[in-house]
């Protein structure tokens, strides 16, 4: 990929703290116009990486380029929007004034900022016929509304690159949906979105590409489809009906089939369905046949790519989550 096709080009950055290395020799390339997931357990170095991208902290080694220019270049960060993991705004300030202040800090002219603020407040239902929350102090807003205001602050200057740190944490389903829609819309308009998360389902649903990091180091990265096919494996998603028959006997039979090492390497009981990894050389048809023989009433039998979750668990493992490194990822 050419340098100017990349929204972000990180080469070998390292950040050491006194007791540990937060990020070690990390390189990653984020193509323009993509939705990129930075995945990792708590304490993996996600927030440290993001802060280095935003020039909030300086890497001890390595280089960071944003839109092909060094990240320390003045004015460059005006094109970037940031939603930190720990959210908060000036509590005693009026919503409109907070938003105008943050927009002005990104180089938006006050008049233009006011226009956009009105549009966004309307879009997020913060100005209605009965009440204009824009004139209320942040203090007077509910938590959900504060999250909306914070999100507006991130996008108000129409950034080409949006960096969201654990954006879904603490969001109710409605706000989470609104956030997801906003990310999709940004992508449609050709903007680049990077978000960090430790919830793999979100990443799998939304990301074009991901980078999994653990203990400050990159475990793997690439397009989501590539990551999922690169294992060279195919999995079976199996869902059983639970409406009739002697449940225990049938499950015993199914259990017997699933624990056959010639067919199944491992399986993961998700309660509603099993995610089954076939043994090398095993045939899915044979598995299906055996299951029916065992008396299973099958609702779903689907060949699938391994989920990000499964790859994550497999590659990062239990040791990836080190104790004593929690706090900021």
């Amino acid at each position: 990929m050419q340098g100017n096709d990349l929204a972000i080009d990180v080469r070998g950055i390292t950040k050491r703290y006194e007791e540990h290395v937060a990020v070690r020799d990390l390189s990653l390339q984020v193509p323009r116009g993509s939705v990129y997931g930075l995945l990792g357990p708590n304490g993996a170095g996600k927030t440290t990486t993001i802060r280095m991208l935003l020039d909030i902290i300086k890497p001890d080694a390595g280089s960071i380029a944003i839109f092909g220019r060094p990240s320390t270049e003045s004015g460059l960060l005006n094109r970037v929007g940031y939603l930190p993991e720990e959210r908060g705004l000036y509590r005693k300030m009026q919503v409109r004034r907070v938003l105008r202040f943050l927009a002005e800090l990104k180089g938006v002219k006050p008049a233009e900022a006011d226009k956009r603020i009105d549009e966004w407040l309307q879009r997020f239902g913060l100005t209605t016929k009965e009440k204009d929350w824009g004139n209320s102090k942040i203090d007077e807003l509910s938590r959900g509304m504060q999250q909306k205001v914070q999100f507006i602050a991130t996008l108000l200057h129409d950034p080409e690159l949006v960096i969201l740190d654990e954006p879904f944490s603490g969001l109710d389903p409605i706000n989470a949906q609104a956030l997801k829609d906003a990310v999709v819309e940004l992508k449609r308009r050709g903007h680049t979105v990077i978000f960090s998360t430790h919830v793999m389902e979100n990443a799998e649903r939304m990301c074009d590409a991901v980078c999994i990091i653990a203990r400050g180091e990159k475990v793997l990265d690439g397009l989501v489809t590539e990551v999922r096919t690169s294992s060279g494996r195919r999995n079976v998603a199996l869902a059983l009906a639970v409406d009739s028959g002697t449940l225990a006997a049938r499950e015993n039979g199914v259990g017997h089939v699933l624990s056959d090492p010639r067919l199944v390497k491992r399986f993961d009981d998700n309660n509603r369905y099993f995610e089954i990894e076939l043994a090398p050389g095993a045939d899915a048809q044979e598995l299906l046949h055996k299951l029916i023989e065992a008396g299973a009433r099958i609702e779903r039998f689907e060949l699938v790519l391994p989920s990000l979750h499964q790859i994550f668990i497999e590659r990062v493992g239990a040791t990836g989550v080190e104790t004593g490194m929690s706090g900021h990822g």
Binding site: Y82, G88, Y90, K92, L102, L105, G107
Partner: protein
């Protein structure tokens, strides 16, 4: 630079809009006006509100002493409050001359008279032995009024002198001249440039400037500290720092808060001046003071010592002192996470400031002494001590310029140090850092 203005503008507007700012801006001038006007009002009231003229003088001396006392009392009251005397047309003291034998009965009847409301307030007894024993008696409702009793005593003393001089054969005109003698002393300060201003006003001005500077620096400096702490504890700091360099954020905050301080001081001076010039005559007239003297002269204030040069110096020293202390306090605020810890972290900085104030007495006593000179060169004490010294006694302009230069250098150092602590501190949560850790921030930031 644009972002610096955005930060400073927010800081300024949010503070000026706050209820506290409005309350303090209005309250302090009222307080200043009250501290000037209340004592003046009390003094004027005491002068005119005296009842010493509304008494009965029982004179059994047979020398006309009673009439002399009455005349003197009338004259004093008239001098103190001509307006009120004319308006009320109150009677003067009533002199009742009698023999020693009639005295006891007269005392009884006058006592009953005093007990009636809206009547005379008391009586003075001058018996036939008064001239030899120098004993007089007074009884009345105002017997515990220090002012009234002073007036009566001094009137009798003057009348005594008159009677005794008359006995010595002194001419009546001379006696009248002596008893009407009044003194008016003015105090004038002399310095290298000659005479100027009054000595009292200089001390007043010097201390006033010192207090104003100290209070402003402490008050607005603490505001900066709280502001930094708020940004940190609400976590808004991270969003802001992703848009603007911490150094610029710090500089903008200090500049904005400093501008608030200047605004407030200008408003304080303007509102106080307005209140004093407009309310002083009204208040003093209501107390019955003579109208002609109801201006600021009567209140004893004179801004004569406040020259343009001193005014500019005060502004400059405020700005430098504020930048010095506010940036250090901002750094203290960035190191911690709670109000209690913040006060503790601010302690060393506050010690510098309060420590300078402890020497104020020796500066007032000897504004040209070594202590005063040394303190007006050190960057942490000069913003308070130097303007104070300038109010007390003249300081060569070269010294002022030199001290300002040292102060500016101190500011640069303080801002540099503060910015390094602030940069690391703003994103540091968890336990309070030790001094060694902070030193490490400064080295590696």
């Amino acid at each position: 630079m644009d972002k610096f203005w955005v930060v400073a503008k927010r800081e300024y507007l949010e503070r000026v809009r706050s209820r506290w700012f409005v309350v303090m801006t209005l309250f302090v001038p009222v307080l200043i006006t009250a501290t000037f006007l209340v004592p003046a009002w009390v003094a004027a009231k005491a002068a005119s509100g005296t009842a010493a003229h509304n008494i009965v003088i029982l004179d059994a001396t047979g020398t006309g002493l009673g009439q002399r006392v009455a005349d003197i009392l009338m004259r004093d009251t008239a001098a103190a409050a001509p307006a009120r005397r004319a308006a009320a047309a109150e009677p003067g003291p009533q002199v009742r001359e009698m023999t020693q034998a009639q005295l006891a009965a007269a005392e009884d009847s006058t006592t009953r008279e005093v007990m009636k409301p809206n009547s005379v307030v008391g009586y003075l007894v001058l018996d036939d032995s008064t001239l030899s024993t120098r004993r007089i008696r007074y009884a009345g409702r105002n017997a515990s009024s220090i002012v009234d009793m002073d007036k009566v005593r001094s009137a009798v003393r003057q009348a005594f002198t008159g009677v005794m001089l008359q006995r010595e054969g002194v001419k009546p005109e001379t006696i009248s001249l002596i008893s009407n003698l009044s003194l008016n002393m003015s105090q004038t300060r002399i310095d290298e440039r000659g005479k100027g201003g009054s000595g009292q006003a200089a001390i007043f001005l010097g201390v006033g400037i010192g207090v104003l500077l100290l209070m402003s620096i402490v008050f607005h400096g603490q505001n900066v500290l709280r502001g930094v702490l708020e940004e940190k504890s609400t976590r808004v700091a991270e969003v802001v720092i992703s848009s603007v360099k911490p150094e610029i954020l710090l500089a903008g905050k200090v500049a904005g808060a400093g501008a608030v301080g200047l605004t407030q001081q200008v408003l304080w001076i303007a509102i106080s001046a307005y209140l004093l010039t407009n309310f002083a005559p009204i208040v003093l007239r209501s107390a019955g003071a003579p109208i002609a003297n109801g201006s600021s002269a009567a209140i004893g204030i004179s801004f004569g010592g406040l020259t343009i040069g001193l005014f500019i110096a005060v502004i400059l020293y405020f700005l430098f002192g504020f930048v010095f202390y506010a940036s250090l306090l901002a750094a203290a605020g960035s190191m911690v996470n709670s109000e209690q810890d913040a006060q503790q972290a601010a302690m060393p900085v506050m010690y510098l400031l309060i420590g300078s104030w402890l020497f104020v007495n020796s500066v007032i006593v000897n504004p040209t002494g070594t202590t005063a000179k040394v303190l007006s060169w050190l960057p942490f004490s000069s913003p308070i001590i130097m303007p104070m010294r300038m109010g007390l006694s003249p300081v060569p302009w070269l010294s002022v310029a030199g001290s300002l230069a040292v102060c500016a250098l101190g500011c640069v150092l303080a801002v540099w140090l503060a910015a390094r602590i602030y940069r690391v501190g703003m994103l540091m949560y968890g336990k309070k850092p030790s001094l060694a850790e902070v030193a490490k921030w400064v080295r590696y930031a």
